[in-house]
């Protein structure tokens, strides 16, 4: 009976459960796709257009594009006739008046004037326009003027006007308002606020118009999703952009990274071995059950191992439970062998007690580059165990005579 909305249950949690109904959902997706295309494709189209590389120009260009049909024959050298601008351009000219008429200045090879031999004085003296040309031009201009604007164009214009009005403060407007003059007489200074204390707001409340029946949060949610999408697109785009030229370089880097990681793991293992050996020698119990007791240089190794071990066990437990009864069920008939066969033998396995805790030190270490990690490990081994990772040799004392140096190159 209900297509969607809330599904109530007697034990309903604090959140609504909403059954998503299909048809509107697809519509919604389609809508999202269209706006996505509008947002991503159109700007890109404009980015590729040769006349400009500046994205800020795009609202202006959009109006240009729509009026291009009626406009493309009116390109005369600007010194002769001021290039005709249809009315749709008016607001944008005030917005960015620093654009020299680049588009218009480009020679239009379709124009009859293009073929005419340029007169030497063309920039100083106006070319005589024939009466026919003039009539044609006037006609074209009149047509362009009288062309009814589409609803979308009008809405856009009105909104632009409104936005423009809303974002300019009146206090600075010229000529100065009489109201402001009166307020100045009462001691008002532009920039201050009204009232006895300075708690008032200097800006009027913004007007935002809600269209349609969308609920609260939908707009921002959609924007967020769109942003994510665009970001993802950009990421993949970047990846592609790296291009074939860089392919070898990239492969080389990847291999180098892999090699370094391998060396780091090796060095960590050595460090673990040496540390635990030393601990055994000294008769200490290594703080194995607490990760934080392990030197950070090889703590990561242990953590990864412990985690994978835990996962393995959990999976196994799950499988077993799925096959048998609840884990709490105790069957009196089972003997020790049964239990062993069923894997019910209590396995004493404890994960490190702080396995799930936040470990900033380790995160920081993991964040380092492979090279840096390796350098630290090598230093650690030298300092603690007089062991050179590159010579693969444990020296007698800290002088480490015979070792050529700290880096791999020095051992070549």
């Amino acid at each position: 009976m209900f297509m969607g909305g809330f599904a109530f249950k007697s034990d309903m949690p604090l959140l609504f459960r909403v059954r998503v109904f299909l048809a509107p959902a697809t519509l919604y997706l389609a809508h999202g796709l269209i706006s996505f295309i509008a947002l991503t494709l159109i700007p890109r189209f404009i980015k590729n257009s040769p006349s400009t590389s500046n994205n800020e120009h795009w609202p202006r260009l959009k109006t240009l594009a729509t009026s291009a049909l009626s406009n493309n024959l009116t390109y005369y050298p600007s010194a002769v006739y001021p290039p005709y601008q249809p009315q749709t351009l008016k607001m944008s000219t005030t917005n960015n008046n620093n654009h020299p008429q680049e588009e218009e200045e480009e020679d239009d090879y379709m124009s009859p004037l293009f073929l005419a031999p340029p007169t030497t004085t063309s920039s100083a003296l106006p070319i005589k326009e024939s009466s026919l040309q003039r009539r044609a031009r006037l006609k074209r201009e009149a047509e362009a003027r009288s062309r009814p604007k589409s609803k979308a164009e009008l809405a856009q214009e009105a909104e632009l006007q409104r936005e423009k009005a809303h974002s300019t403060s009146l206090l600075a407007s010229k000529p100065q308002s009489k109201g402001l003059a009166m307020m100045a007489k009462m001691g008002f200074r532009p920039g201050s606020t009204l009232g006895s204390s300075s708690s008032g707001s200097a800006e009027p409340i913004r007007v935002s118009i809600k269209e349609g029946k969308e609920g609260i949060g939908l707009e921002s949610e959609r924007k967020r999703k769109l942003k994510e999408l665009v970001e993802n697109m950009e990421k993949t785009e970047k990846k592609i952009k790296v291009g074939e030229v860089d392919y070898r370089e990239r492969m080389r880097q990847e291999r180098e990274e892999q090699r370094l990681e391998g060396q780091v793991r090796g060095a960590q293992k050595v460090a673990e071995g040496l540390d635990s050996e030393r601990a055994k020698e000294r008769g200490e119990e290594m703080g194995k059950r607490r990760l934080k007791g392990i030197p950070v240089v090889w703590r990561g190794l242990v953590k990864v191992r412990e985690e994978s071990e835990r996962d393995r066990r959990m999976r196994r437990d799950l499988e077993e439970h799925a096959m048998s009864r609840l884990p709490t069920y105790d069957d009196g008939d089972e003997d020790a062998d049964d239990r062993k066969a069923l894997g019910k033998k209590k396995v004493v396995y404890e994960v490190a007690e702080d396995l799930d805790e936040e470990d900033e030190e380790l995160d920081e270490f993991n964040g380092l580059t492979g090279e840096e990690k390796l350098r630290r490990l090598v230093e650690y081994l030298r300092k603690e165990h007089h062991y050179c990772f590159w010579c693969k040799f444990k020296y007698e004392d800290e002088r480490m005579e015979g070792c050529p140096g700290l880096t791999e190159e020095e051992h070549d």
Partner: protein, 805 residues
Amino acid sequence: MCLPNKKLRQPCGRHRQGKASANSEIPAIPSVLCRISHPISALTPLTFGMADQKGTKRSSVESDAQDSKRIKTDDKPNPYLAHLNMDGANDFKSPLDEMERHNTTALQAAKAEDSDINPWTGKPHSENYFKILRTRRDLPVSKQREEFLELYHKTQILVFVGETGSGKTTQIPQYVLYDEMPHQTGKLIACTQPRRVAAMSVAQRVANELDVELGQEVGYSIRFENRTGPKTLLKYMTDGQLLREAMHDPNMNRYSCIILDEAHERTLATDILMALLKEIAHRRNDLKIIVMSATLDAQKFQSYFSLRKEDPPAPLLAVPGRTHPVEIFYTPEPERDYVEAAVRTVLQIHAVEPEGDILLFLTGEEEIEDACRRISLEVDDMVRESDAGPLAIYPLYGTLPPHQQQKIFDKAPEPFRKGGRPGRKCIVATNIAETSLTIDGIVYVVDPGFSKQKIYNPRSRVESLLVSPISKASAQQRAGRAGRTRPGKCFRLYTEKAFKKELIEQTYPEILRSNLSNTILELKKLGVEDLVHFDFMDPPAPETMMRALEELNYLACLDDDGGLTKLGSLASEFPLDPALAVMLISSPEFYCSNEILSITSLLSVPQIWIRPNNNRKRADEMKAQFAHPDGDHLTLLNAYHAYKGAEQNGEDVKKWCHEHFLSFRHLSSADNVRAQLKRIMETHEIELVSTPFNNKDYYTNIRRALLAGFFMQVAMRESSNSKIYKTVKDDQMVMIHPSTVVSSPYDWVVYNEFVLTTKQYIRTVTNEIAPVYYDVDTFEKGEIKSALVRLTEKVKRRQAMKGGY
């Protein structure tokens, strides 16, 4: 073209009509017109910096006012009150005699209330009185009467917080009454309400509780209706009304205690009153002030009302309301269509939730009616298919006729058969139901999170009612409605994240969302010189004040130094927007004050045209009968004249209105407003005159008079065959609202309203322009400027030709 092609005709004394025509409702017909060559007098030298374009232009005169008396505004203590007491003292021994003013106790007061004789009238108490008294004693506020009195005695200003349902609005003024002893001092107690309806209904309730007749000891005063008398001790009134009274009584000498109720709503008038009362409190130590609020945001009021800097904040008394816990549910995802989601939610509640009524908040009349229709259709199905209980659906919004509003208090319907699923009612309301109305039995609240709010931006002069997200505070208020009778549930049609992130904390006070020209004029009239440092609780943006001053200057209500002019002083006497008031005051100069008076009244009530969804075509046909080619103002006038004509012919006016798709309610209230305004005009000796109807200038004069007030609301057509207009000064692109009767497009139009929906419309337009109002030099270069220059030259040429040189 719409050039004023005749010289402005001015009435001259000789030819003005006498009293007879001035008083007749249907315009009388003056015989001859007199030609004068000098231009309009009062309003001519208007320099014009920026054009005006205002949003909702329905003026502040409210609608359904009934029989009314003029506001009594004498400063002297009322001699009748003392007289009354003397009278009473002879007849019986009043328990009040034992009580000492400003030193009473709750016990004494209770004794006085319990006595068989009504201490205020001297008559015996009715049985009903004691019945009501018992319920009154059960109210939460009743338990704190002693505490209240102690605090009241100690301080001049008191902040009182009590949630809706605590009984503060009805009880506190009575507690004050038993302590202030107005019959001894001759000074009244006033209690303000933001809404007319509330003032009326609460006054009625309190009159019942005190066992007195409404309009005698307890009365109310709202705009255009004053039900108080010489015996009145306690007066409920709208905040705007008290503000108007303050214009003639700057110290509020008539009152010994002023209670500002529902201060949390922060209406424009309440905000101004708070600032004024704060000042008056310095001058008048004997004036007590109580600020009552329903929300716990009282600290702001407390610190605002510490009179001097070194003073501690004003003391606070809080009374808990009778509330039950309300469980709040959010949606996991934002809704695509909140109306659809709301309808579904209501139906789900009806299907599965236990007994209890539903309250759904939506934004406006159209949306509410639509939702009601959809719910009732679906419920019919539910009843047929799945044996659901009956569901009664009631809409509730401001423009609904009162008898329909009353329906929301009906009991929920009985189950279809004995033992069947319980019936319930569902109220679909605007935010009227948020604080001002108490509806018992509501257990479920559905809150989509929107309301229609007035918004004003001085930069574009947009003043419109726009659908906007509510604030957190009002979302909490809405949820609270569910917990009045028992634990309830509130379903919010937005996510918890959206609630936290997208909703503002508090609704902006009205003063930040309004055009202040009327307020500034009132403040000027109240003698406030330094508006810039006026102690607003929330000061408006400087640009808002700048615009208001500017507009008043254009209207010649303020001179260039910011001083109140004669015209401004006169305009402030009218409970109208300054532009409408100026238009009315200057209308005799155009020889059409009767007609302008009618038009002003018609513009001051809601739309008189009815256009039912199922019968639009017929309604449009009927409207076309009244259509005047020159525009909507004149069409309104035609309809009004036809209405009056039908009335005079003795027809059944209600039936006539129904047949002609006109709102009888709004027409009759326009009639009433007209009578009130006429009285004010007569008091200030503004003549009521008319051009003879068969004179060819009858309509031209009216159009010119319209322009005298609304020259700031003029738009010019963009090009000769375009539908787009540009407002003269703000350069905003607008279209004429489809409801207009204007078919042939004029180049210039004057409009009454700037409506902002998803498009920008101007509503109620008439063709007229007079360049004389504009100082062309102040215009920015552009089409409009050049058009105005052309027009000025044309008019000059014509005048020269006519002048014969």
